[in-house]
């Protein structure tokens, strides 16, 4: 088995060859899937734990606080304690709630990010689903999550839940458009929807640098719209605590509440990962023109680290938004999308087409 931190293709092939040797073909496929599934589950659990902690710390520092400090060194074990607490809590179900849908909703919310995360290219060769319509697939499955939110709101038999769910529905319907269009702006340049192709097209520079002004505008629109799509502040009207208790997950407790919580953070990761892949070159190292020495140093840093560094930077930006801006009202939110983001996006798409036709990008 030849393990190479810069290129996982050989490693993955040798693992699958080895599986094929010791097992029948069908069993090998199933075992392979199971291994990948377990890796992703572990990854998501770790991601949730660490992101919740990081978010609390980042939020605290933005607000001149210290955040969790008591459990473990600098509060590092705080989220573990929270998870244990949530597991031991009673999973309450409201009287007159639609029990089947109520339970189903928590799983649907969790399934969407699980489907989407499979398409994320982590490093060269570390890519589970490389469809030729990768971007389309990710945007499609990540909006399944809203079905879960709508179901949760409807089945809870609670007016706050229903209002929250309806807001969330309106939000997704409008902002999905902007996310798609801003990604399309870059697709004009790459000429492919395949995520690995998109990453490869950035080996000589990231699209945010190569794509001129329209790429920067597209990135800004993408980050705004996808923050809205993930129901995060300043667009967290679906769970606006001060108005509608906790919105769609008011009636959820214990581990089912944890699912909603976890899915928010996994969604956040997926947004940052897609943003990284499309605008910041995915796992591609930073290359500057002909500075060979600099480029070699950058190449030395493994792609996995590049990927997670970029994702972390984007996550930080999104957290910065959340803890700075006040929450929008529902009409303001729709105005922002339909009167500002969408027209700007269409103009930007035109601009990008012109830039691309005339070869003004690099």
């Amino acid at each position: 088995m030849n393990f190479n931190i810069y290129d996982f293709t050989d490693f993955v092939t040798s693992v699958s060859n080895w599986l094929n040797e010791i097992l029948s073909p069908e069993l090998a496929v199933i075992t392979g899937m199971a291994i990948i599934g377990i890796i992703f589950l572990l990854f998501i659990a770790l991601l949730g734990l660490s992101l919740v902690y990081i978010e609390r710390k980042v939020c605290a520092f933005f607000q001149q606080r210290l955040g969790p400090m008591r459990v473990g060194f600098w509060g590092t074990a705080q989220t573990i304690a929270d998870i244990i607490k949530l597991i031991f809590k009673e999973p309450l179900v409201t009287k007159n709630a639609d029990k089947f849908l109520f339970n189903l909703a928590a799983f649907i919310v969790m399934i969407a990010p699980l489907l989407a995360i499979a398409a994320v290219p982590f490093a060269k060769g570390l890519h589970v689903l490389d469809f030729d319509i990768g971007i389309f697939y990710v945007t499609a499955v990540s909006s399944i999550g809203v079905t879960g939110i709508l179901l949760a709101g409807w089945s809870s038999n609670n007016k706050y839940s229903l209002i929250g769910a309806m807001r969330s529905g309106a939000q997704i319907v409008s902002y999905e458009l902007s996310v798609g269009l801003s990604l399309l702006t870059i697709i004009i340049l790459t000429g492919s929807l395949q995520l690995s192709e998109i990453v490869n097209s950035q080996s000589d520079g990231w699209w945010i640098f190569k794509g001129n002004i329209p790429a920067v505008i597209a990135f800004i629109i993408f980050i705004i719209a996808s923050t809205a799509e993930s129901n995060r502040g300043p667009f967290d009207l679906a769970e606006a605590e001060s108005e509608i208790t906790a919105g769609f997950h008011t009636e959820y407790s214990g581990i089912k509440f944890a699912f909603f919580f976890l899915s928010e953070y996994v969604n956040l990761f997926i947004i940052a990962a897609i943003g990284t892949t499309v605008f910041f070159g995915g796992w591609m190292p930073l290359h500057l023109g002909n500075l060979t020495f600099f480029n070699n140093i950058m190449d030395f840093i493994p792609p996995l680290i590049w990927f997670f560094m970029k994702v972390a930077a984007l996550l930080f930006l999104i957290m910065w938004f959340k803890w700075t801006f006040p929450r929008l009202r529902i009409d303001q939110m729709l105005t922002l999308e339909w009167k500002y983001l969408l027209p700007l996006n269409l103009m930007n798409l035109m601009l990008m087409s012109i830039v691309s036709l005339n070869g003004w990008h690099f």
């Binding site: 933005f62 210290l66 910065w320 700075t324």
Partner: protein, 162 residues
């Protein structure tokens, strides 16, 4: 037409500018951990300093000779909206003039009833009482919250008149 287009874009720019201003402020806080105001209380008990206007409890100021400035006028008792203060006064003979004079026997303060509104401090004509910055007031027995503020054997400072 042109005007409305200009207005549209200037609105966008103004919006973005005000958002960036907000992000600059939070970014400043994030990069300057010195600005953090959280006190890690039980750990920093020794060094913790409460801010100047913190109202912990009412105390009667005594100087090094165990003398205070309270004349027993009951102005604080009347000013208190909660009946927290009880002035139990006594009659004594003024050594200078030889006439009977009112002095305090007990300045009773029920911490459990105090809302720390500061009204008694304002009402006192001789500035005999002030707010202390202590705040660790929890006790196991409620009666411990009723305090006599004048120290045993203390007397009024010379020259303090009602």
């Amino acid at each position: 037409m042109i005007k409305s287009i200009i207005k549209y874009f200037s609105e966008i720019f103004r919006g973005v500018k005000s958002l960036l201003t907000g992000m600059k402020i939070t970014g400043y806080y994030f990069t300057h951990p010195k600005e953090i105001i959280t006190q890690q209380y039980p750990e920093n008990r020794e060094t913790l300093k409460m801010f100047d206007r913190f109202r912990g409890e009412v105390v009667l100021i005594h100087d090094e000779n165990n003398e205070h400035k309270c004349t027993g006028c009951s102005a604080c008792e009347i000013a208190c909206p909660n009946g927290t203060i009880e002035i139990i006064s006594d009659k004594a003979i003024d050594p200078e003039t030889g006439k009977p004079k009112k002095v305090i026997d007990k300045f009773v303060y029920h911490l459990s009833m105090c809302t720390f509104c500061n009204l008694c401090i304002i009402a006192c004509p001789t500035d005999a009482i002030k707010m202390a910055q202590t705040f660790e007031h929890s006790v196991f027995d409620r009666t411990k919250l009723t305090k006599v503020l004048n120290k045993p054997g203390s007397k009024i400072m010379a020259g303090i008149k009602e």
